[in-house]
């Protein structure tokens, strides 16, 4: 019996403060990616915007588990929240979206993909961001050189970036893509990219054999830069670019090393636009557009 008492008391003790301080809830933010810096910025931005509007927000993170996210959407649908905000590829959570629809709860995408089951999705234009960094590389290389690409195909918004950058490089007759790498996530993409880059550097030992590294987001760009520094090849002027403008990437760009540019998604702008779109919907029952783009900006050392 002591075992059961222990379990019961444990739950009680840990649960009590939560519902003492928050009895009513209005919105739920659901994502499997809260550990990602970009998602964190958006969720924090959304919480701040929601607070200013007097909303209660529950943030639910399933640590990479998309099936669990569907389950949590079903739970939240039963709780009859006023709206759900998701940061995940909607094509993978169709059952959760249908549970919300059955419960009459609108779902808004915060940097998700477009989906007819979403009331609206607010995001940056992935094609434009990839084009910004890929053309920056082409310009820096004067249209000639070998490029290593770090891509990630399983997540459609990032896959898009790789596809557009690849077409831009392929359209330049004197630019050659020598490697396309999907970094391992076992110990985080930064470490995965560093290991992969070490192998690429070993396979291309001649100075000047690599001119640029294009990464679909900042972590592999940072990992590749570390590998280049560790190999003592930072003086080869290899141009590295990433996307997302995380704090770490901004620091490295400001240090004027090999990492030259990134694209700043306006995470706060996305979060605020989602909050405003939710507000508009809750007031009027409709939104003006279902796919809303928030501009992103190329960041180089001159901007920092």
């Amino acid at each position: 019996m002591r075992q059961n008492l222990f379990i019961f008391t444990g739950i009680l003790l840990l649960a009590l403060p939560q519902f003492l301080f928050a009895q009513s809830r209005t919105l739920a933010v659901l994502t499997p990616f809260l550990a990602q810096p970009g998602t964190q910025l958006m969720v924090e931005g959304f919480e701040a915007a929601a607070k200013s509007k007097g909303w209660q927000v529950d943030v639910i993170d399933t640590s990479g588990d998309v099936a669990a996210l569907v389950s949590r959407m079903e739970d939240v649908a039963l709780q009859k929240v006023d709206a759900m905000v998701i940061n995940v590829d909607p094509s993978q959570i169709r059952n959760g979206l249908l549970a919300a629809k059955d419960a009459g709860i609108p779902v808004f995408g915060m940097d998700s993909g477009a989906d007819p089951l979403l009331t609206a999705n607010v995001t940056s234009n992935g094609y434009v961001m990839a084009a910004e960094t890929a053309t920056y590389v082409v310009d820096q290389l004067n249209g000639t050189g070998n490029v290593v690409m770090f891509i990630f195909e399983p997540y459609p918004p990032v896959q898009k970036r790789g596809a557009i950058a690849e077409s831009i490089f392929n359209n330049e007759p004197d630019i050659k893509i020598i490697e396309k790498i999907t970094p391992s996530f076992d110990r985080g993409p930064l470490e995965g990219a560093r290991n992969a880059m070490e192998a690429v550097l070993t396979a291309n030992p001649t100075k000047g054999s690599i001119q640029a590294i294009w990464a679909a987001w900042d972590d592999p760009a940072l990992g590749a830069e570390q590998a280049i520094r560790d190999a003592g090849r930072e003086d080869e002027d290899i141009v590295i670019v990433g996307i997302d403008a995380t704090e770490q990437a901004r620091d490295r760009i400001a240090a004027r090393g090999n990492l030259k540019a990134t694209v700043a998604q306006d995470f706060n702008g996305i979060a605020n636009t989602v909050a405003n779109t939710v507000e508009q919907y809750l007031k009027s029952g409709s939104v003006s557009r279902s796919q809303i783009y928030v501009s992103a900006k190329l960041v180089t050392a001159d901007d920092l």
């Binding site: 379990i7 739950i11 649960a15 809830r25 099936a67 039963l78 993978q92 059952n95 399983p154 459609p156």
Partner: protein
């Protein structure tokens, strides 16, 4: 046996189940209007159905004294195989059959390595975990397959079920889990294979001396587990209407946790189906109830871990005290 000893034995056997009932009562008292509803319970059974299938077949392997770390990546691989085949316009059942065959072959591979080549289950299935995971990425080219590539009926299946009353249905995924439970119950309790497997898990040397075909039984357990993982992978594809090369990976640890929690419900600390089912339900009810109570998701993880440790620890202590 005195009454108090009988009571102690009952508590030892059903303590974890009583703990589960207490957890349920707690959530019921806190969320009376939403937690103890037919809809929510059917929701929970659907949410745990995939974990349930994989945990039940894992129980079989663990009854034989082994375990299998590769079930999560096998679930990802088999789901991916089906999705890739559907993308190439192979028939619905052709792809389902191929995915289940892949699960079976994966099980044969594990079983041969462990039961015949003599590798430890830990090392062998750690290796195959990586192999299956790599194969899932290879066949999919690392991409998520979704949209029109997945036949509509596959996604619809997980949303369908047997209608009970207006708007309430017994989900198809729950029905699959119940079918697997019944099948495993028959296999483990009512067949010579099941009884012999218990003997193998209890004392491998003695079983060998008694003429039990130990290696063959262990191999079969791995094959059933591989097929179970494949079924779970297909259920996952149906639930998510998409296939991702890593989407089943998280199942392995939860399956092992469920079996371990369930082992506290046996006098000898053996894996057993009722215990595993209770373990699965505890995990499912905790996620559902804690979400309804608006407990921070990270606190949820800590709580779940603490409850698993507490259940196993107290059971171990009570066994020692006997």
């Amino acid at each position: 046996m005195t009454v108090s000893l009988q009571l102690a034995s009952l508590l030892r056997r059903y303590g974890t189940f009583l703990g589960f009932l207490l957890i349920v009562s707690f959530f019921w008292s806190q969320r009376p209007e939403t937690f103890m509803t037919t809809r929510n319970w059917l929701n929970i059974t659907q949410q745990v159905s995939i974990l349930c299938v994989i945990s039940l077949t894992m129980t079989l392997v663990m009854v034989g004294g082994d375990f299998d770390l590769s079930v999560g990546s096998m679930a990802s691989l088999s789901g991916m195989i089906a999705a890739v085949l559907w993308q190439q316009e192979v028939s619905l059942f052709g792809a389902l059959g191929a995915a289940i065959l892949v699960g079976g072959f994966g099980g044969v591979f594990n079983g041969v390595l462990v039961a015949y080549a003599g590798l430890s289950a830990f090392v062998a299935t750690l290796g195959t975990l990586t192999i299956f995971s790599g194969l899932a990425l290879l066949v999919s080219d690392g991409k998520t397959i979704f949209g029109r590539a997945i036949p509509e009926i596959v996604g619809d299946f997980s949303r369908g079920g047997i209608s009970l009353t207006e708007g309430i249905q017994l989900p198809n995924l729950t029905l699959i889990a119940v079918s697997v439970l019944i099948f495993m119950g028959i296999v483990l309790q009512n067949t010579v294979f099941g009884r012999n497997l218990h003997a193998v898990g209890g004392n491998r040397e003695a079983s060998l001396l008694a003429g039990v075909p130990v290696a063959r039984l262990r191999l079969i357990a791995f094959v059933v587990n591989g097929v179970g993982a494949a079924i779970a992978g297909l259920m996952l594809v149906s639930r998510l209407s998409s296939a991702n090369p890593t989407q089943g990976d998280g199942l392995m640890l939860n399956a092992i946790a469920s079996v371990f929690v369930g082992m506290t419900m046996s006098e000898e600390g053996e894996p057993n189906l009722f215990g595993t089912l209770t373990g699965v339900l505890i995990l499912g009810v905790l996620s559902n109830g804690l979400t309804q109570l608006r407990i921070d998701t990270y606190v949820q993880q800590i709580l779940t871990g603490l409850i698993i440790i507490a259940a196993v620890l107290f059971s171990r202590l009570s066994l020692r005290r006997r």
